[in-house]
Subunit: 212 residues, 2 copies
DNA sequence: TAGATTGTTAATCGATTAACAATC
DNA sequence: TAGATTGTTAATCGATTAACAATC
């Protein structure tokens, strides 16, 4: 990559939110927006919006603001959305099945193409037309189908070993729904969804609010 | 609340992770741990651990470190875990059903006691022994059953109106799985799980890692 | 007592906000 | 041209890390 300035993870995590708001604006036919107007909608400062965007380029026009469609497409490019990504779900339990059935991913080009489990009662099943395969077949499947992302929805006890195996098969991105941290090489991208942690945070905040 | 120093959200979000690691240590019978040892396990600095904990009190002993069980229980108290919290799931779709079936919550005292939907095909169904009620009954149910937390797993279009209704019924904490921000009074605690945003962040990180 | 490790203050680092010249 | 709003530098704020005296 030519550009070497380090983008902070705080900025990266805001990009999908910008993308979402711009998509909504686009849908209601709004053509241009200033950082000030957008900041009011999103509840952040206009300064932060301009700083964030200028990490990637000057997308606006002085005196005018930002063209919504153009900015939307630029953020789309930055995020790497637009091309199709192939994903597998590892663990065909409740969460795994729910994610397979979650149609929002596909409309963004994120396609689940295989599901894996060790449970014989689940193997052979079909969820939204996608087959549940024996976990034994995972390695070959990943290699033959150029899988980009693995979604890990298996119990705590098997999470680390399975993640290790995925990395050995060449997976570069893991979306981890297991209540456990994975400890993988820095060259592997991991995004955690620790549900119980999130709920505990909410409990704390709820009590904090009530104490006032 | 007597103590007025403002705890940052960054600290709060780390508490469940401490709690998780301490629970694991407790399970394997470890009695004491120093901030240095814990920092190595958790991949953060010992200084940060001591700073974080000292927001709430001095839980350690100079020259010794921290008693694992004591610290575990203190963090449990800080988070407000231990008592039972009653929750409802609003939206009996894929994600809603998966969360009802997710047994980790109950073992922490977070109990789902009702499910609501507008879809007549779902109403009357039972998920893990919990009935799906008509959304019309939600208001009365919340008031009669002292519900603490609502888990929102409904489509984007209805999210804002439903959240508003929940707040009118007296709900103080909302766990929002809708791909949309809710815009509620500051007195309501909200924790968002924006799945598509998270996946997009992962895609960006995966590509960034590959570019190196 | 000597060694270890906390609690806490001070220093550093990074992220957010403010300000304003550049320019559409 | 005058007004608006960006891109960008500078100031501020907050969070993390380092350092060390207190003390178990």
């Amino acid at each position: 990559m030519a550009d070497n300035k380090k983008i902070s993870v705080a900025v990266i995590k805001r990009l999908p939110r910008y993308y979402r708001y711009l998509g909504d604006l686009l849908n209601v036919g709004i053509v241009r927006i200033s950082s000030k107007e957008l900041s009011e909608k999103m509840n952040i400062t206009a300064s932060q919006i301009r700083q964030d965007l200028n990490n990637f380029g000057g997308f606006g026009q002085r005196g005018y603001g930002y063209n919504v469609e153009f900015l939307y497409n630029e953020i789309k490019k930055i995020l790497g959305i637009g091309k199709e990504y192939k994903m597998i779900v590892v663990g065909a339990g409740n969460i795994g099945q729910a994610l397979v059935n979650y149609t929002d991913f596909e409309s963004n080009g994120f396609k689940i193409v295989g599901i894996f489990d060790v449970n014989p009662r689940l193997i052979g099943m079909t969820i939204r037309g996608i087959e549940v395969y024996d976990a034994d077949k995972m390695e070959a499947f990943i290699k033959n189908n150029e899988i980009d992302i693995a979604i890990l929805t298996i119990p705590k006890t098997q999470a680390k070993a399975t993640a290790k195996k995925l990395v050995e098969c060449g997976i570069k991105g893991i979306w981890n729904f297991s209540p456990m941290d994975l400890e993988l090489p820095k060259s592997i991208a991991v995004e955690n969804v620790h549900l119980t942690d999130g709920l505990m945070t909410l409990i704390y905040k709820t009590n904090a609010v009530l104490d006032k």
